[in-house]
């Protein structure tokens, strides 16, 4: 039996004006278990708290009910008070007689009666309370960043600079990501490589950063502070420690059939290759599908020519298991497959290219060495049409498109138009657009510059059809402002294709139990207030994996994610939520229903020995990981036997409240 003290706060006149606080205190004296009941002007004041502390000691109270403002306001305060008087903080219940009583009712009799009922409900609940202790779990002071693009690099650098170890897992042979493929960046037109490569080098040289390239996350277990990741480092058939990146092998390789991924497959590369000059790690990789050694068992030219002896045809995939405290998802994006848009003749003509392909064509390090020439006949084009919103802003039932705005296309299109006009004033550039969306610092100015200074022909409307006519591309579109259909015989057509999350995102999301939206972007824990966190604790989001964004936004978010990671890793241990789910092992059926509704993957099953009147023997039992459980209670309702209960909000506590209220 509890010995309960009731403390009724006046809150000045906030409560006392519409609730007869003395009557409430008096009425509660008659409740079973209540051994002390009083009222005071400001319970939250130092004096009020002292009164509570004294009563706890004097009457040896086992729990207290404070009738005051909302628990959202002062529950923490009164819990601290209770702790300082030797009580467990969870032996405190608040009856909200201000926000949910005195402030909304005018009649004193009515307010008083309701306050008494609310206080009784709190007493009834308190009778069923039990002292709770929040568990703790240690924190592994290392972060895992998945994805080595600008988002991943930036997060890694920020975390590493704070003194924590970071592993970057990058699925391709080099870090750098999409930004490495870009020529210039809007709206400043500074060279992408010039600003990215120093960061790549910094990451590579940072003593706290370990880059695991050509690797993917294989599996993940554990929870915040205590993740165990298994990383599959794919065989690159090159000993990374020995390879000096001299490139001799790439020159000697007789195979020339591989498509150069870095150049958007616009040109061919050898079976052994280094993706690009500034690749990090600057180590070659062998494409086993193309390699003659693997295909025929012969060749081996690279091996013969490698002075470092780095070629290792016997290399196998390697599984690395490491522990991490935090995980950052920075898996980025890819442009959507434009081949679905045959009305734009993407499949029919090599001169219809996507913007990222165009980016490589314009890039000095690209397949054309920066020469603007048509892929089909290598001739200089004179008229270029850019089509915006290809695959963006489509209805969701359109298989080929995405319902969202890809956000970056308006700006990179303006950039492309401007770069072309700057370098080749003879080339006419038409841009078909639906809306020019340029909300960003110096963005609209940039776009206007393209129109005003560079005389880019912006046509409000969309292209309905591109037809190959001889060596020309006949572009038919609408000009909505002039109310006419326009026909342009272009030399090249550039499709500003939508971007989508990297295809690996979905399986990764499943592995991390991180929620995703229907477009496979990772969902943030709260869209406004926790934009760089995923709902499961310890998983953070960086870059386009969370939603379309440009480079400065990506870097900003990467930094924010890093700040959250640092905040986590600088703790030695984590205090868990005390109000967590708990299995009554004697009656758990092990039916697995609770596991299915847990949003955090906090429930697992173990075979345990059970000795209860109903059952003796080994049985499958649900186990809650208190470090992961956030205490939502979804599992408790799914459990038909009531074996799963939620500490602090148990079935019996809530039913006692119901009973008291309905009494």
């Amino acid at each position: 039996m509890q010995k309960i003290g009731v403390f009724v706060c006046w809150c000045g006149s906030n409560i006392a004006a519409t609730v007869d606080v003395k009557a409430v205190a008096q009425a509660l004296k008659n409740e079973a278990g209540v051994v002390f009941s009083t009222d005071y002007q400001y319970m939250c004041s130092e004096n009020g708290q002292a009164m509570i502390r004294q009563a706890i000691k004097e009457h040896q109270l086992t729990g207290i009910v404070v009738c005051s403002c909302s628990p959202r306001m002062h529950e923490a305060t009164f819990r601290k008070t209770a702790v300082s008087a030797g009580l467990n903080p969870y032996m405190v219940e608040i009856a909200n007689i201000r926000e949910q009583c005195s402030w909304i009712h005018k009649d004193i009799a009515e307010g008083t009666e309701k306050a008494i009922v609310l206080a009784r409900a709190a007493v009834a609940k308190l009778h069923k309370n039990a002292p709770l202790t929040a568990g703790t779990s240690p924190v592994t002071k290392r972060a895992l960043v998945i994805g080595g693009g600008i988002a991943g690099i930036q997060t890694a650098l920020d975390v590493a600079d704070a003194g924590f170890e970071v592993d970057i897992v990058e699925k391709s042979p080099t870090i750098g990501g999409r930004m490495a493929q870009l020529d210039k960046t809007f709206p400043t037109l500074d060279c992408s490589a010039c600003i990215l490569t120093p960061k790549m080098v910094e990451a590579a040289q940072h003593e706290k950063i370990n880059i695991i390239s050509y690797a993917e996350l294989e599996s993940l277990s554990g929870f915040v502070g205590n993740f165990t990741a298994t990383i599959r480092k794919k065989a690159r058939f090159i000993d990374e420690d020995k390879c000096s990146g001299c490139g001799v092998c790439t020159e000697k390789c007789p195979s020339r059939k591989g498509l150069d991924e870095f150049n958007m497959k616009l040109n061919k590369r050898g079976a052994v290759y280094i993706p690009f000059a500034q690749a990090i790690p600057n180590v070659a990789v062998i494409d086993a599908e193309q390699c003659l050694h693997f295909r025929t068992g012969k060749c081996g030219l690279c091996q013969k020519n490698c002075s470092a002896g780095a070629i290792d045809f016997e290399q196998k995939d390697q599984l690395i298991e490491r522990k991490y405290g935090a995980i950052v998802v920075a898996t980025g994006f890819k442009p959507i497959d434009a081949s679905a848009f045959n009305e734009y003749a993407y499949n029919d003509s090599p001169d219809v290219v996507t913007s990222l392909e165009f980016e490589r064509i314009m890039n000095a390090a690209g397949p054309t060495k920066g020469q603007l020439i048509r892929p089909s006949d290598l001739k200089h084009p004179h008229e270029i049409v850019v089509i915006q919103c290809v695959g963006s802003r489509c209805t969701e039932d359109k298989e080929k498109g995405k319902p969202y705005c890809s956000k970056i296309c308006c700006m990179y299109t303006a950039k492309h138009a401007m770069l072309v006009r700057e370098k080749y004033p003879d080339v006419k550039v038409h841009v078909f657009y639906i809306d020019a969306r340029t909300p960003g610092k110096n963005f609209d100015e940039f776009y206007r510059r393209a129109v005003e200074q560079y005389d880019v022909d912006y046509i409000k409307g969309m292209v309905g059809k591109v037809a190959v006519e001889g060596d020309k591309l006949h572009v038919q579109g609408s000009d909505l402002l002039n109310g006419e259909q326009v026909h342009i015989n272009a030399d090249m057509v550039v499709l500003a294709t939508a971007i989508e999350p990297d295809p690996t995102a979905r399986s990764l999301g499943t592995m991390l139990t991180a929620s995703m939206d229907t477009n496979d972007f990772f969902t943030e824990a709260h869209p406004k207030l926790r934009p760089v966190e995923s709902p499961p604790a310890g998983i953070f989001l960086s870059g386009v994996a969370q939603g379309p964004k440009d480079i400065p936004e990506t870097v900003a978010q990467a930094g924010a994610a890093a700040a959250k990671v640092i905040g986590l890793l600088c703790k030695n241990e984590l205090t868990c939520n005390a109000c967590v789910a708990q299995t009554n092992e004697a009656i758990c059926n092990g039916c697995s229903q609770c596991e299915k509704v847990c949003p955090y993957g906090a429930i697992t099953y173990e075979d345990k020995e059970i000795r209860s009147p109903e059952f003796r023997g080994i049985r499958r039992i649900a186990t809650v990981n208190e470090a992961i459980c956030q205490g939502c209670g979804a599992c408790t309702v799914t459990c038909p036997s009531g074996a799963m209960d939620l500490k602090g909000f148990t079935n019996s506590q809530i039913m006692s409240e119901v009973d008291a209220i309905c009494r």
């Binding site: 909200n96 209670g633 408790t636 209220i661």
Partner: protein, 145 residues
């Protein structure tokens, strides 16, 4: 309560801690009136509402039970209210099938910013229940003495 007093409905409102309980607080801060016979029980999430609690309330003499939670998509625990939505739909439908008046149970999504909606919802719910009259079908006679 004495027997000759005029009947007023008893309403139990289960509110999730993060949105609706805060919404109710906001209604309070904004001094928005709603009847005193609405009593709120704080639960961590709408998905914590066990159908047993709803029935318990009716047994003990409640005339209406309302569940308020975060709007779909805004759940503090990401998915709780989606489960609550299905569970309550099935429960309410079953109660309806058993002949219990449809209006006695309700689910409303009230965000922490929607104090006015909270008050309006409660006013409307009390009105509905008042029109429906006393809960005679699901009560336990032993609790009415």
């Amino acid at each position: 309560m004495s027997m000759n007093q005029e009947w007023t409905p008893k309403i139990v409102a289960f509110c999730c801690n993060w949105c609706s309980y805060a919404g109710a607080d906001l209604a309070g801060s904004g001094r928005m009136n709603y009847p005193a016979n609405v009593k709120i029980i704080r639960i961590p999430c709408s998905c914590r509402l066990n159908p047993m609690f709803v029935l318990r309330a009716f047994q003990r003499g409640a005339d209406g039970v309302i569940l308020c939670g975060c709007h779909p998509g805004d759940c503090h625990y990401s998915t709780g209210n989606y489960y609550a939505r299905r569970r309550m739909t099935v429960l309410f439908s079953l109660l309806d099938y058993m002949g219990i008046e449809r209006g006695r149970t309700r689910v409303e999504w009230v965000s922490a910013a929607e104090g006015a909606k909270f008050a309006a919802t409660m006013n409307d719910f009390v009105k509905t229940i008042t029109e429906l009259g006393e809960n005679k079908k699901l009560g336990d006679l032993r609790c009415k003495k």
